[in-house]
Symmetry: C2
Subunit: 142 residues, 2 copies
Amino acid sequence: MNAPIVNPALTKNQALVFDALNRAEGPMSAYTILDKLRDHGFRAPLQVYRALDKLTEFGLVHRLESLNAFVACAHRDHECCGGAHGHGHGTVAFAICESCNQVIEFHDHEVDHRLEDWARGKGFKPAKTTIEIRGLCEKCAA
Amino acid sequence: MNAPIVNPALTKNQALVFDALNRAEGPMSAYTILDKLRDHGFRAPLQVYRALDKLTEFGLVHRLESLNAFVACAHRDHECCGGAHGHGHGTVAFAICESCNQVIEFHDHEVDHRLEDWARGKGFKPAKTTIEIRGLCEKCAA
DNA sequence: ATGGCACACGTTATAGCATAACGCAATTGA
DNA sequence: TCAATTGCGTTATGCTATAACGTGTGCCAT
């Protein structure tokens, strides 16, 4: 019961961090993750940051810039776009509730295209795009 | 010559911080600003952060979430939209060159609308939206 | 098999970003 | 005048992130 969601390609530390994020309700800071994993042998921030770097690189985890925190990717394999290598998508956007900390991950082609067009027009070469909406989710706005 | 751009409503500290940002080529961290203002009597981070809070509230300064840094607003009064109170605009987006640190501030109605529509559809009430594209500017991409 | 390489890991120390909590001074307006 | 508000200065602290070092392991070309 409650078996960890594990990607076999992950190292032990990566799997532990990924699992902690998957179990969490909302985003967690690196130090919060560290505290959750002390029982599993984690002692230093770098252990967490190194795992997070890789997980982010794999697209399994996203960093929320406006929170300095991390969430597990909400996408699942079969997703709409860019899924060439089984995992992969365009720019992901986040709606972050400042009351209950719920994070909704979504994707909007049109927004993507507009930003790409703008960049093309300016000769700007995008590497990573951040879109984060902070506010109140439906429940909390009531 | 080179007279400070001053908004008369600002306090001394706010004006100093705003001026420092206006003179700067690119974004500055709070601590960088602090260092630049030591000659003007600044001694502690809080002096900078308090000024930045107000300037951000006034819409004169933007925070770049992905850099933990600040830039003077590139808009000038007469701008396109939302300019009800002389200053005011929808969501502002930034393109940040990771090579030369140049920041281009822009605005796209269409993107705004799409995000607003998404939020309306979800019952989400946006408070603040962050859009930041990191990459290489035209010159640096060459 | 062995030497070299790439990569993950562990540890200590340090750097960089941000705010809490206190008290004082000036301004405003009832 | 008194109270409320706002800005200011200071000290201390907390949170976020990386530098620099060394170890161990697996791989594979020689």
